[in-house]
Each structure stands twice: as C-alpha cells, then as structure tokens.
Symmetry: C2
Subunit: 355 residues, 2 copies
C-alpha cells in the first residue's frame, strides 16, 4: 500500500497551532507503526480561505479534499468584534455544510467522556460522574430540517424536516455496530410523540434491531435526553439521533468532559471521512500557545482507526493522551486551581514522548 493522502485544513483561530501538534504526533506514530504512512496536502478553509479566495470553501480546497484519503479539519470562526465582516459571516455554516454535502458526510460520530484525571474540570457534581461518563453520539448529518426546503414569504417562514428510510438507516447502522463494540446499549433520541419523522426513525430502528438482537435498544424523547445528559450522564452508551437534535445534544454533551478541547469527532462519508475537534476556533487564544491540542490529536487517532484501519496505532495515540493527562500534564483549560499548566506545544511533546 502506498502512502495515505491527508488533506489538512487548519482553518482559523487556534486551528493552526493545535494542528501542528496533531501532525507532530502523527509523524512519531509513523515511525513506530510502519503501516501508518501519510502525506499531507494543506488547504484553506473558513476565514483563512475567504482572505485569499473570497469564499469559505474554495473549489481548490474541495479538489484537494476529493483527491485525499481523509480530511483532518481544524476549526472555523473569528473574534466577536469582527463578526460583522463578510470574512466571518456564515463562515462556519458555509464551510461545514459545504463539506458535508460535497463529501456525502451523512454520519457524525462524537464521543463524550469524562477523564477520571480531569473530573474536577467537568461542570457536573462529582457524584454524578463518579460512575463513569463515556458515551458516543451518532448524529445524522445530511438530512432533517438542515437540508429541507427553507422559505420566507413576507411575514411568514417555513423550514421542512424530511427523512427517508435510507437516510435513517445509515447512522443507525453505524450506531448498532458501535454499541456492539462497547457496552451494547443504544438510545435512539427523538420526539415521536409529536413528529412523523421521529415515528419513522422508531420504525426503522425497531426493524434494524432484529438484526442486532444483542444490542439493548431504547427510545428517549429529546427533552428528556437533554435532562438526563445533565442529571444522569452515566446512563448513556451510544446515542443515535437526527440532525438537529444531534446538533443540540452533542454540543450539550461536549461540555461534560470539562473542556471543549478534549473531544474529537468524525464525519463519515461514502468515500472520505472528515475529522474535526468538537471545540471551536477560540480566536481569543490564537497565537498564545495555550490551547488544548488533545481533541485535534485524538482526531488523528480516529482517522487512523476509521479511515486507515490502523487500530493499534490509533489505540496507542489514545493511550498516550490518557497517560499524559493521568500524569498531571495539562493545558490551562483543564488545570485545577493552582495546578501548573503546560503550553500547547509542550502537551504535544508530552504525547509524542508517551508514545
């Protein structure tokens, strides 16, 4: 097998500096695991792309991604004071929805776990997380109200939420498989007491369950799920849900670990997968060498696992990040009051060393 081509889209804000650490870790991984051989094509996205091309998702970037085996994505977005500039207007939306559509990214996978060593940083009371919080949210990413008809007619507006059985099967298939390799519990979140699309989700989930009888399946209304994520996060193993509910719940879950800098995510397409940290571009931290690169580093692990099937290399990176955090080496965002913290690059170095 030849080298895998990775499109690297650092984007805005802290994107550049956390990406540097991720690539550092990947380089070391290649030395240790000869099966991991990659080449990089850097491309512009978001505000950085706008400066050069006048659009947030240039054709050039699309072509580079299309010619790659995987996309390593940073983050998008500018400072609060600059939001009125065309550079930032709808930057995130244009880039992300553009990529999703261009590469048929129909399934988003986002873990949310509380690291025992960082449990002080979680916003939740200690006894609520001491039983362990370790879930994966599988979100449908190309359907629902996001991609339905939108219209405005004078004093009224309309957005249409549509789902087909085919669209629903795709994330559920992934979710059932993910549950099998975990604690075998799948919670499908919907609003089946109100929505026809939710009732269709239930029908499809129940049918598919026959093929995966070893998975324990339950259904939960989205309002209740929003409560349980806060009150009883240990309840969840795998959650699967539609696009908008997934947007809300995966962001809610992303704060449980205690920092947005900790969790990676993967968006799975028909050919190419995209890997993206769940935090934002944090423009206020840009250039300060203080941002947490863990999420971006863990994106490389997800990439090795899902895109390149390099399971042991992926596990090695995850174990290294765990070990670094366990040893008390932390960036500012997850340091205890009074605890010393390390820089972005020092954290990356520590992961390389732990590898």
């Amino acid at each position: 097998v030849g080298k895998k081509k990775v499109a690297v889209l650092a984007g805005d804000g802290i994107g550049e500096e956390v990406m540097k650490e991720a690539l550092k870790v990947l380089a070391r991984t290649s030395e240790l695991f000869p099966e991991v051989q990659t080449t990089y094509q850097h491309a512009l996205i978001g505000g950085a792309a706008y400066d050069v091309h006048g659009v947030h998702f240039p054709e050039e970037t699309r072509a580079i991604c299309a010619a790659s085996d995987a996309i390593l994505f940073g983050s998008i977005g500018g400072p609060v004071e600059e939001q009125h500039l065309p550079k930032w207007k709808d930057a995130e939306k244009n880039a992300l929805l553009g990529m999703r559509k261009a590469f048929d990214l129909g399934v988003n996978v986002r873990p949310a776990k509380v690291y025992p060593a960082l449990s002080h940083a979680s916003p939740l009371r200690h006894d609520l997380i001491s039983g362990g919080v370790d879930m994966v949210i599988v979100r449908e990413l190309l359907g629902g109200i996001y991609f339905g008809k939108h219209s405005t007619d004078g004093d009224s507006a309309e957005d249409v939420c549509t789902y087909t059985v085919e669209q629903i099967k795709r994330p559920l298939e992934f979710a059932f498989e993910a549950a099998k390799s975990r604690r075998k519990k799948l919670t499908v979140v919907d609003k089946a007491n109100v929505l026809d699309t939710s009732r269709l989700w239930r029908r499809v989930a129940l049918e598919m369950h026959k093929l995966h009888p070893e998975v324990q399946l339950d259904f939960m209304y989205v309002d209740n799920a929003a409560m349980q994520l806060i009150k009883a996060p240990s309840y969840f193993d795998v959650i699967c849900t539609e696009n908008m509910f997934g947007d809300i719940l995966s962001d809610a879950a992303s704060v449980l670990p205690g920092s947005l800098g900790l969790m990676p995510s993967a968006s799975l397409g028909s050919q190419i997968y995209l890997y993206e940290p769940s935090g934002g571009s944090a423009p206020d931290l840009q250039g300060l060498n203080v941002a947490n690169p863990a999420a971006q580093i863990l994106c490389t692990a997800m990439m090795l696992r899902y895109s390149f099937g390099a399971h042991s290399a992926a596990a090695a990176i995850e174990t290294a990040v765990d070990a670094v955090l366990d040893s008390g080496i932390v960036t500012k965002d997850v340091a205890r009051p009074g605890q010393a913290s390390v820089s972005t690059s020092a954290f990356g170095d520590a992961v390389v060393k732990a590898l």
Copy 2:
C-alpha cells in the same frame, strides 16, 4: 369582584397529593389576603380521565376549564410497566396539546433558579452556580414544528416548521416585559445560520427591540445555548425561543435547581392561563406522601400574579416557600445525605405556617 373560578386538574401520579398542598396554601392565602377569593371546580385529565371517559382530555373537562378564570394543572403519566396500555398511550401529548389548542396557550413561562439553600442538590459544580442562577424561559407554545403539517408516505416522512410574525411577537412581547422587571437581559435562542423561521424570529426581535431599548438583547444559537445552560447558567436572565427549542432547553434548565419538584410554569392564553409544575407525575412516588409539593404551590403564586393580579399574595407565597427551604425543611428529593426530610403534607403545613 366576585370569587375567581379555578379549574383544578390534578391528573395522575403525585398530582392529587401535591395539589392538596397547593390548595391548602391557597386557602390560607385567602384568609390573609381578602382580595384572593376562589372557588374550585375539579375535573379529570390524563389517565385519570381515560379511566372514566376513554379520552385524555374529555369535553366535560374542556367545558369546566372554559368556564373558569384559571387552570391549576397537576401532572400526567403512568408507571413504566403500564406504558403499553391505551390508558397511557400519548396521554401527556393528547392532554397537553389539546389544552394548548383549546385555550390558545401561546406562551409558556418557566423560571429556573437555584435556591441557595438547596445548591447542594443542583447537578452542577458549586462554583458554577455560586454566582446565582435565576432565569426565565419564555417558550412559544402553539407554532413551529409542533403544529405544522406532519405526513408519512411509505418510506419517507415530513414535518413542517412554520412561523408567522404574529406568532413570534406574542412570546417576545412577554419576554421583553419580563426582562424589564428583572435584570433587563433577553437572549433569543435560534438556529439562524440554518433556518428561515429563525431568521424571521431575529427580524421580529430586532424590530421589537426598538420599542424596548432598555433591554439588552442578544442572540444565541441553540447548540451554544445548550452548552451555556450547563457551563455558565448565571449568564441568562430571560430566554425566549420557539416551541421545539423551548421544549428542549426548558427541560434542560429544569434540572438545574436540583429537583423537578421545585419549579412552576405558566402557559398564557388569550383568555385563560394554565399553571403546571415542571416535573412529571412520578408514579413511583404516588401515595407515599414524599413528593415535593413546592412546584405545585408556586403554581398558585404564579396564578395569583398573572391571572388575578394579586401581586402581594403571590409574593407572600413565594417568600414563604423560600423561608421554609431556608429553614432546612425539605422533602426527600432535595435533602442532603443524612439530612432529615419531611413529608409532602408536612412541607405544605410548613408553608402555611410561614405565611
């Protein structure tokens, strides 16, 4: 002025027993505040109604409510083991959506505050709530995807979210006024980067803001709002949002106080308003005299304020509940480990005494 007619719909589960305490408190309030004079018409709703009439929202109940000045509502829903019975199928939905439509209940108002005396019960880390958590969520209740067209056609389904300027103005009008009587901050939650209805909400909010310049208005995407409710709940004063986002966010916010038994809510119609605790029917607690009646008692305060304009009587009830909680008299749901707790009726008695 004659006596005010209150329709009392205790419903299922703990409804009966917490309602009893609310009526006890109202009776004492009438003695102390001669302007508060009420008569009660009891009526069936939910599973209790189904047993007698075969429907969850009987015509008889509708008529009693229609002839009343306010509706005091308990809760609806049966035990997990009985969910397959027709008695419980869609009970909550049928009753609640039925009432909302019948009485044009277009605005839902739900406070979420952490009582300092009960801060140990909040699921959030102490330092996140020590700055005080005291918000009101104003939810549009008769529009959006709830009441749009729902359709299923073989292997695909559709739900339509619609809003008109008129529908949007109603909750916003209330929200601006509420903000004025509070900390003067209004956050409109939407998904304006994706939805046309959200963009219409923004347009209307910006127009109305000109009439309420003393209110500080901001906009927040719903995914971000779900994060901030957990990470920085002190940020919020008044939140206003559309029906489905309001369903999710008000339930998420309802767990912040530490028990679902603490917060009341009001649904405002064109003629009649409905008052309802934010917790559910808790069938597992039914008949045990342990449920927290605070939310139901605080519903009577909201009723006195919004339906009957009896502001000092309303404030007296709220102060009494505060005082009881402050004095360490608590039901089981909010007791500290090892702390003695009192029964439902003893809590009601304590509020009566504090009045």
